[in-house]
C-alpha cells in the first residue's frame, strides 16, 4: 500500500507541476516571473491578487458573479432536458429512434466556428445579444448532445428488471423516470453537473461573442483581457486571477465527486 501511495504522489507531483508553478508565480512580483522561474519563493507577495482583482472595470467580483449565474442556469438546463431526452432514447421504443439518435450525435460533429456566425445572426435578430439567453436557452433545450449520450449510456447500463417490475405494478413512464431511473443514475447526474460547471466556467469563445458589455463579461473573457499579444501582459495579475477562478471549480469538483461515489454499488450490494 505505501508503494501505491508513493507512486500516486510522484505521478501527482509531475502532473501538478504546472499548476504549482502558476500558484507560486502568482505570489511573485510581476516582473520576476520570467526572469527567475522555479518553484522556490524568496518572498510572499499578495499584490498580484489585489491588483488583478481591480485591474479591469468592473472588478473581478462581477465576472465571478456572472459566471456563477451562467453556470447555474446551464446546470439546471442540462440536468432536466438531457436526462429526459436520454430516458426516451434509452428506454422508450418509438418510430425512427435510430434515425433521431443519429441526428442527435450528428449535432456535435460540426465545428462551432461555422455555426457561431449564423447562430449569432439568429440570436441577434431575437434581440438576445448581451444577455445570458444565447448561452443558457440552448442548454434548456438539450442541445448539449454530449450529456444526452452520456446519460443514455448510463441508463442502458441499469438493470432492466427494476423498471420492468415497476411497469408490471402499473407505473407510467413519468413515474419510472422520476422514481426509479433518476435516483439510480446519480453518478451520471453528478458527472453532468461537474462537467457543465467546469466547461461553462472555462468556455471562452461563445461567451466572448455573445457578451459585449463588460458588465456582463464572465471569468474566461475577463482572464483573456489581461493577455494581449501586442502589449505587455501583467502575467502576475493574470495568474493570480486564474488561481482565484480555479477555486470555485475546484470546490465544485470536491463536493460533486462525493456523489459519484454513491452509485448503485452501495445500494445494490454490501
Amino acid at each position: 500500500m505505501p508503494a501505491k501511495h508513493l507512486g500516486l504522489v510522484v505521478i501527482g507531483f509531475i502532473m501538478l507541476y504546472p499548476v504549482l508553478w502558476m500558484i507560486v508565480s502568482s505570489l511573485r512580483p510581476g516582473d520576476e516571473i520570467f526572469r527567475n522561474p522555479g518553484l522556490i519563493l524568496d518572498s510572499l507577495q499578495t499584490e498580484n491578487y489585489t491588483e488583478g482583482w481591480n485591474a479591469l472595470n468592473p472588478s473581478f467580483g462581477t465576472y465571478l458573479l456572472n459566471s456563477t449565474i451562467l453556470v447555474l442556469g446551464c446546470i439546471i438546463g442540462n440536468l432536466v432536458s438531457c436526462s429526459m431526452a436520454a430516458y426516451a432514447f434509452a428506454r422508450l421504443n418509438f418510430s425512427g429512434k435510430r434515425w433521431w439518435f443519429g441526428i442527435m450525435l450528428g449535432t456535435i460533429m460540426l465545428p462551432v466556428h461555422v455555426i457561431i456566425v449564423p447562430q449569432y445572426v439568429l440570436f441577434s435578430q431575437a434581440g438576445w445579444v448581451n444577455t445570458f439567453l444565447p448561452l443558457i436557452v440552448p442548454k434548456i433545450l438539450a442541445t448539449d448532445a454530449f450529456f444526452v449520450f452520456l446519460m443514455v449510456q448510463f441508463i442502458r447500463g441499469l438493470p432492466r428488471e427494476l423498471d420492468e417490475a415497476a411497469r408490471i405494478d402499473g407505473c407510467g413512464h413519468p413515474r419510472i423516470f422520476a422514481q426509479i431511473v433518476l435516483p439510480l443514475m446519480k453518478p451520471a447526474l453528478a458527472t453532468t453537473t461537474i462537467f457543465t460547471f467546469i466547461w461553462t466556467w472555462n468556455d471562452f469563445f461563445t461567451q466572448l461573442i455573445y457578451l459585449t458589455d463588460p458588465e456582463m463579461y464572465t471569468v474566461p473573457v475577463a482572464l483573456r483581457s489581461f493577455v494581449d499579444s501586442t502589449v505587455a501582459t501583467s502575467w502576475g495579475s493574470q495568474f493570480a486571477m486564474s488561481v482565484v477562478s480555479l477555486v470555485p471549480i475546484f470546490l465544485a469538483f470536491l463536493i460533486g465527486q462525493r456523489y459519484l461515489v454513491k452509485g448503485i454499488a452501495t445500494t445494490g450490494g454490501k
Partner: protein, 435 residues
Amino acid sequence: MLKGVRRRTALTVLVSLTASMLAACGSGSEAGGDLTAEPVTLRFTWWGADDRHKRTQQVIDMFQKKHPNITIKGEFKEWNGYWDSLATTMAANDAPDIMQMDELYIASYSERGALLDLNEAKKHLDTANFDQKALATGAVDGKQYGLPVGLGMYSIMVNTDLLAKYDIPVPDDTKWSWDDLKKIGDQVSKAGGGQVFGVQSPGINDTAGLSIRARQQGKSLFDQQGKVVLPPEIATQYWQYILDLSKTGVAAPPSVTIEKASAGLNQSATATNTAAFGFWWNTQLTALTAASGAKLKLLRLPGESQGKPGAYYKPSMFWSVSSRSKHPAEAAAFVSFLANDEEAAKILLTERGVPANLKIRDAIAGQLKETDKAAKEYLDTVPVSDPPRITPKGASTLDAILKRKTEDVLFGRTTPDAAAASFIKEVQSEVDAAK
C-alpha cells in the same frame, strides 16, 4: 405535423438569416449633420490589456461629462478575440459604432464597405494637427477610413547593460550595415557562452523588417494597386541573413529563437535579457524596459545610411467608424475627442503609441517617462521616407505567412530561395482570392 412545422421554421430561419446577411447599410442620421440633443448610445470597442482598458474607460467618462446625452459603451477584448467578435458582429449587421482598427485589416474591412469615410464627417472631426503623411496611412483611394492614433517606427533595441558587461561598445547606428550587426552580434554570442546571444532574429512577428530591406533598395512589398512587387532576390537575401544568424550562432538555436519570439513580449529574448539586439517597434521600449529590468537603447536599423532610408511611420492603430452606424456624426465627434482633447491625451499618454497628432504629442511631452521620451525622440529625429501602401485587402494573413516561411527556413525545411518564391506566390494569391 411535426415535419411540417420543422420545415416551415427552418425556412423562416433561413430567410431571416439571408435577409440580415444581405442587409445593406443601415440608414441613420447623416454623418455631416448636426449633433443631436436626443439621448444616443454608441458602442466603442478596442483590443489591448488591462492598462489600456483602465485608461480608455477614464477618457470615456470624461467625454460623457461633456456630452451628457451621449452614452459610450466600451467593449474591451484581447487581440484574437477582438477580430473574431468584430467579424461576427459585422455578419449580423450589429458592429460597434467606433472601433480600433489595425493596419493589416483596414483594407479588408474598408474595401468591403464596412467603414465610414471620415471625410463625410469632417464637420465633427478635427484633423488639422495631423501630419499629411500620417493621415495618408489611413486612407484608401482618397477616402479616410481610419484616423491614425499613434505612430511607431521599426527599430533595433540594444541591451546596453549586456554590452557593458561584455565590454563591447555600442555601435554607431548612423553608419552601420547589416554586416556590422552580424559582427557585433557574433562578439556578444561568443562572450555570452551559450546563455546570451547577439541577435533575436527578425522575420517572426513582423513583415516590417522585410519591407524596410526592400525599401532600402528602392523597392517595396506592394505597388499602389496592391500587387506584390517584391523582387525575389531581396526576399532571398532577407531569409539568407536570418539563416546565417542562426547557423553562425549569432542568434539562438531555431527552436529557442521561435519560442522566445512567439511567446509574447514578456518572454521574449529582449525581456529575459538573453539577446543583446532585438527588432521591435520603438513604442515598445517602455514595456520592454520594465520587463527586462535592464537599460535598453533604441537604434536605427542597419543599412539606413548605405541605400535609401527604409524607415517609415507606421500607425500603431486607427480609429474607425462603422459605415452602418446609426449615429455617424456623434461617433466622429467622439473620435475627434479621442484624437484632439489634451485632457484625454494626458490620461492615454503613449499607451497606444506616440500620438500622431503633433499638437498632442507636444502637450504630453512633459508627462512622459524617460523611456517614452526616448521613443518620442526617436520618432522626431530619425529620417523617414513615404509610408508604404496599406496592406491590401486579402493580405491580412501577411505576418502569419512570413512567420511560417521563416520557420521553414530556420528548420531547414526549405531554402531561402524557395521560401522567397513561395512567399511571393502565396501573398499574391491571397490578394487575388479577395478580389
